[in-house]
């Protein structure tokens, strides 16, 4: 009996030992991985990503990063003094692998006003390197660390006042690939969301200083991808071909907001949850914490303009958190056929449509025509409920994404074209007030008289030419 107990005990102990050794082996592995040779890290500005590590061994990775305080556009016609890692918001993308020994030199440009530092969430050690890298203007600091855990990590400045340094754009991503690298894909992009606080309201032109009070109140004027309204639309949009697999490295610098990252018209085949190792499949929207990141992958099967948004959706349509991934290639009608037929929907007992004595449907516009004042009122309500989501309530639109209606040369030039646009939609390139827009407006489901009201409202607002549109005109365009 004693012997049996002893053997049993021995057995338990040895099992314990095995499992213990296993975990130990796992954690010591990255620490003890040898670095062979050295390599100067390739750093890229957004939306580009450096070459994958592939099969290379762990190496000494030499990184040099310059801090620049520089003024640039936060939106067309609006400038802001950004503080940057490498001259861009977000900062340069860093890519290494587990076991790499990083020698990091942080240079603070002599023209900068302030001291800065860097806290890399990929670093195991005091402050993520913040203390070791604290550097005055016109000086540089070198420190080193080893990459132990694979994943996608945020880095940011952590100098007092931290919130302000982050709010001014001091963040970026560092990717630590596992041994052997991530599985290859066709396209990789780098996107980072951030919230910005300016003295003037969204779009107010001129030089806009940082507003500390709004930052404390967590009430941003701008929520942006890659540091600018239109940072990922128009000329800056991303491209892929049908059949390609796309991988997005998405970070959120904050300082305050959490992102509900979503791509309109796609489903994420894979999400590396929180940028870590767990892979979740078939995801519509993924939450990205402030100071967190996520890797999403999807195959693009259908040609379209995929819209990247923070699905806290007012941020997308009113504060700038909008991007476009343009997918070109052949249509696959099985995946998506587009609109096949359009018909009138008349549920039985509907009170919406009246029957005339002779049995014909009587559409609303057959009644007494609305006066201009009535049209303006109806038009305003319909516009604000539907059109303002993209063109905004003041008709100014969103630079590089949705053309302005206010003082719009495109609008004022041709009434019939405007009617056509509302009832049939519009896609492809148009030039409005000198700017090129290449996007899609869907056909709107308004009656002739509603269309007339909306357009009358638009033509009689925001400095447009005052045209009054009638239901007859709309009908004519519809019947042509």
């Amino acid at each position: 009996m004693k012997l049996f107990l002893f053997i049993a005990l021995l057995f338990v102990v040895s099992i314990g030992n095995i499992s213990c050794e296993k975990t130990k082996e796992k954690t010591t592995a990255s620490e003890d991985m040898k670095a062979y040779g050295s390599l100067v890290a390739e750093l890229t500005s957004p939306p580009n990503v450096p070459k994958p590590v592939g099969n290379r061994s762990a190496k000494k990775l030499i990184i040099e990063m310059e801090i620049l305080e520089r003024e640039s556009e936060i939106a067309n016609g609006v400038t802001y003094l950004f503080w940057t890692f490498g001259g861009t918001v977000p900062g340069s993308f860093i890519r290494g692998r587990v076991g790499d020994e990083v020698e990091f030199t942080l240079k603070n440009h002599p023209n900068n006003r302030l001291p800065h530092n860097i806290d890399l969430h990929a670093v195991t050690g005091q402050g993520g390197g913040a203390e070791a890298s604290f550097v005055a203007p016109g000086h540089q600091k070198t420190f080193s660390f080893k990459l132990l855990n694979p994943g996608l990590y945020v880095y940011h400045c952590a100098t007092a006042p931290v919130g302000m340094h982050i709010a001014n754009g001091m963040y970026g991503l560092i990717l630590v690939e596992p041994k052997g690298g991530l599985p290859p894909v066709d396209k990789e992009f780098y996107i980072m969301q951030g919230d910005f606080y300016t003295k003037g309201k969204f779009g107010e032109p001129g030089e806009q200083p940082f507003d500390m009070q709004k930052a404390i109140d967590e009430n941003p004027d701008y929520v942006l991808f890659n540091g600018k309204v239109g940072g990922l639309t128009g000329d800056n949009k991303l491209h892929a071909e049908v059949g390609e697999t796309v991988r997005l490295f998405v970070g959120n610098g904050g300082p305050n907001l959490v992102s509900s990252f979503h791509v309109i018209g796609e489903i994420f085949d894979k999400v590396f949850v929180d940028g870590g190792t767990t892979v979740s499949e078939n995801i519509q929207t993924t939450l990205i914490a402030a100071g967190g990141a996520s890797v999403v992958e999807f195959k693009v099967e259908s040609p379209s303009e995929l819209i990247l948004v923070d699905h806290s959706i007012f941020r997308a349509f009113n504060k700038g958190a909008l991007g476009v991934l343009s997918v070109s290639g052949n249509k696959n009608k099985t995946v998506f056929a587009g609109e096949i037929t359009e018909g009138v929907y008349q549920p039985e007992g509907s009170v919406i449509q009246d029957l005339d004595v002779d049995g014909k449907t009587k559409s609303t516009e057959a009644g007494v025509p609305l006066t201009k004042v009535e049209k303006m009122e109806q038009g305003k309500n319909l516009f604000n409920a539907t059109c303002a989501a993209c063109h905004l309530q003041d008709g100014k639109g969103i630079a590089n994404a949705f053309p302005p209606l206010a003082k719009s040369d495109y609008l004022n030039k041709d009434v019939e074209r405007a009617i056509h646009t509302v009832i049939y939609g519009l896609s492809g390139e148009v030039t409005v007030n000198g700017n090129i827009y290449n996007s899609i407006m869907p056909a709107q489901q308004f009656s002739d008289s509603e269309t007339a009201s909306i357009l009358t409202y638009v033509y009689n607002s925001w400095g447009n030419n005052g045209t009054e549109v009638t239901a007859e005109q709309v009908k004519k365009v519809r019947n042509n």
Binding site: L81, L114, F134, A158
Partner: protein, 232 residues
């Protein structure tokens, strides 16, 4: 020089248990020392000229914008001299029979607006300082053009950082969340809408702790002070 009557105040850092610190009356230069004034000094004391200065007293960027040992860009004549080390600033003041102001003296004088001795709670005042810290190239401005503060002193804000005698007497860690730095951490944690003033001060203290006495920085100048009993 301007007369600062002294008094008591609680600086953001450096007071024990938030007890007010007494400041004795002192005199302070009305404006930062200009390039022209510093040139006059260099002519009298050539050992501080760019080519001749001992390297341990001045870093590589010492007077780097100057075109030669005794020439600076003409447009900067009445602008504050920058890219000078603490050693050079201290020597300048001593040769003038003065001294650098202490950190607390500087902070005391700099908390005054045009009308108040302590305007730190005044949001507009603080906001302006903060936005000044964000404005690039303010070292190119001419001294003494802006409005003087309560004590008749110009350009304490919105121009250049300034050396103080004991600039490194309060060391803030490179990151402001260090657990050993409870003072700062709690300060940061307790910030409310009323404490906007701390952000401007944070930036000054953070800047001071990032520098060393031989550093010569583009946006860092100085002015001198004098004890009242030595008043000439």
């Amino acid at each position: 020089m301007a007369y600062v009557a002294g008094g008591k105040f609680i600086p953001l850092y450096g007071s024990v248990d938030k007890n007010p610190i007494p400041i004795a009356p002192f005199l302070m230069d009305k404006t930062p020392v200009t390039n022209q004034e510093f040139l006059d000094f260099l002519i009298k004391y050539p050992t501080w000229q760019r080519q001749k200065v001992k390297k341990i007293f001045a870093g590589e960027n010492y007077l780097e914008k100057w075109t030669s040992d005794t020439n600076f860009p003409k447009e900067l004549q009445n602008s504050p001299v920058t890219q000078i080390s603490w050693f050079a600033a201290k020597e300048y003041c001593e040769c003038e029979g003065k001294r650098l102001p202490t950190l607390n003296e500087w902070e005391f004088a700099a908390m005054a607006s045009q009308t108040e001795i302590d305007a730190r709670k005044n949001e507009d005042f603080t906001r302006e300082i903060l936005s000044g810290y964000e404005t690039p190239n303010t070292y190119k401005k001419e001294v003494g053009i802006s409005k003087p503060n309560y004590w008749g002193i110009y350009d304490l804000h919105n121009m250049v950082w300034e050396w103080t005698l004991d600039f490194n007497s309060i060391m803030i860690s490179g990151e402001n969340r260090d657990k050993n730095n409870t003072n700062l951490f709690c300060g940061a944690g307790a910030l409310g809408a009323d404490d906007l003033m701390n952000y401007a001060a944070f930036m000054r203290y953070a800047f001071r702790s990032s520098i060393q006495a031989n550093f010569s920085i583009n946006s860092l100048g100085f002015r001198c002070a004098l004890d009242i009993k030595e008043k000439i």
